[in-house]
């Protein structure tokens, strides 16, 4: 009798609203993520990145310890939450990964053009991803605060905004098609609104991240690259002004958001 009543109650609770079912599915995913956080494989990439930073490598057999990520040569802590930014030595606005390419070229003697065209996950590009993971992790818990004092940084924000809303391709998508409003989803995947600060550890503040579904470590450049793939756009150049400008737009909008990178994703 008692069990019948419970069954009836359970059915009554389970049946009525699809919204409830979605909520529990989304909750399930959140729980799954929480469980995964106990052992984030991104730590392996962090360790690799730290080693790569300190190790003498490349044609010049030098380490990256004199690399200036914006806060002075060798300063790693806090650098990630202030990137992309303008660098006087290159005369360019650069994100972390394009800056690492500069340092690997100038300090270690790697060929810049070769580095940029190396596919994700291969050779020196896998090393850049590991370096970016460690460097981002050194700002964990800090809040995004990109500089906007240089004219180039302001100009890149404006260009990034235009890139964000740029519609094209066979499906007419832009970044804003999915990330321009609050509370939207694709299937069950929540979509952060990147036209403003979407919250601590959400959107720009969650990458680099380890992706459980494919077992890969994803840097911000790879995250943007795959967004463009899903937008059905052609292939964006690694560290291109376009991708850096998008980083400035999202990073400035995320001002005050706490970085949890490297995060773990489904």
């Amino acid at each position: 009798m008692r069990s019948t009543r419970w069954t009836a109650l359970a059915l009554a609770c389970a049946l009525p609203l699809a919204a409830q079912a979605q909520k529990s599915a989304a909750d399930g995913i959140a729980e799954y993520r929480k469980m995964l956080e106990d052992g984030n494989p991104a730590e392996l990439f962090e360790a690799k990145g730290e080693q790569l930073w300190k190790q003498a490598r490349g044609p010049k057999n030098a380490s990256l310890e004199k690399c200036d990520l914006g806060l002075g040569p060798g300063v790693v802590k806090g650098a990630w939450v202030k990137l992309p930014r303008y660098f006087a030595d290159t005369g360019r606005v650069q994100d972390l990964e394009s800056r690492l390419v500069t340092c690997m070229a100038t300090l270690q003697g790697f060929n810049e053009a070769e580095l940029v065209k190396t596919p994700f996950g291969r050779g020196e590009m896998a090393n850049i991803t590991a370096l970016a993971t460690w460097i981002a992790a050194q700002s964990r818990g800090q809040r995004f605060d990109l500089p906007q004092s240089h004219a180039e940084e302001k100009r890149f924000y404006e260009l990034g905004k235009r890139a964000f809303f740029f519609r094209g391709g066979p499906m007419d998508f832009s970044c804003a098609s999915c990330h321009g409003e609050d509370g939207k989803r694709i299937r069950l995947q929540d979509l952060p609104n990147l036209t403003k600060n979407p919250g601590d550890g959400i959107g720009f503040a969650a990458w680099p991240a380890y992706r459980v579904s494919n077992g890969q470590m994803w840097s911000m450049q790879l995250r943007l690259n795959d967004c463009y793939r899903q937008q059905r756009f052609p292939y964006p150049g690694f560290g291109s002004d376009l991708t850096v400008a998008l980083g400035v737009y999202m990073g400035v909008n995320a001002k005050g958001a706490e970085s949890i990178a490297p995060a773990i994703k489904r």
């Binding site: 599915a25 302001k154 235009r162 519609r167 007419d172 989803r185 052609p234 002004d241 376009l242």
Partner: protein, 213 residues
């Protein structure tokens, strides 16, 4: 006093410098376009000509809607582009429609063919459709009970003609009804062929479809 005046002059000078150094909105538009052209390369089926914008893509590439007259022009051109189904056959098989609605594949640089047969209709990415599928997106409105709510008892009854035609047009080229709609132009851009659209139509409008039961 003197210091205050100097500070004021300094601030004004900085402000002028700051303003002068940021290009005009028109110049920024041109720079953004050049930035896109410089950034992309062909990869597989995704060629760089995909970023050549048509009127609607260009006019809807901002956080502000286009002027009324431009929106009207986009909608009129989109409406004129719609190819209505041969033989007046609007509906196919809702079972095939459900498969297409579930399928989110097609047209990325990791897909190998631009043929319509390689593409899904992507529907569940953005819409609720049947009640059984709880993994649906919310960018578009719910389409659950789509036909039922619109009183479609027999899709071939003349009383249903207006809603049936609108639905075809909406799938073929949604910009005919909203210039900056988020929805892809499935017919106009060759993403789905006539028969595939018929199947999706049946999913939405066939009284036997799980959408309307």
């Amino acid at each position: 006093m003197k210091i205050r005046i100097l500070t004021a002059i300094g601030a004004a000078a900085l402000l002028t410098l700051g303003c002068a150094s940021l290009p005009s909105p028109q110049e920024l538009d041109a720079q953004a376009l050049a930035m896109h052209k410089a950034a992309f390369r062909d990869q597989g089926i995704a060629k760089v000509d995909r970023i050549n914008q048509d009127l609607g893509q260009k006019a809807c590439s901002s956080d502000k809607p286009p002027p009324e007259a431009v929106a009207k022009q986009i909608e009129a051109e989109a409406l004129a582009s719609i190819k209505w189904p041969t033989g007046g056959r609007y509906l196919g098989d809702w079972r095939e429609g459900e498969k297409l609605a579930q399928n989110g594949r097609g047209m990325t640089w990791t897909d190998t063919s631009t043929a319509t047969s390689a593409n899904g209709a992507q529907c569940y990415n953005c819409h609720q459709i049947s009640k059984e599928e709880i993994s649906f997106g919310t960018i578009g409105p719910s389409l659950y009970n789509y036909g039922k709510l619109r009183g479609v008892k027999d899709p071939y009854d003349p009383a249903s003609a207006a809603i049936v035609q609108y639905t075809w047009g909406k799938i073929y080229n949604p910009k005919a009804y909203a210039a900056c709609s988020n929805m892809p132009r499935f017919g106009h851009k060759g993403l789905l062929d006539e028969n595939q659209i018929r199947h999706v139509m049946a999913l939405l409008l066939d009284p036997q479809s799980p959408v309307n039961r």
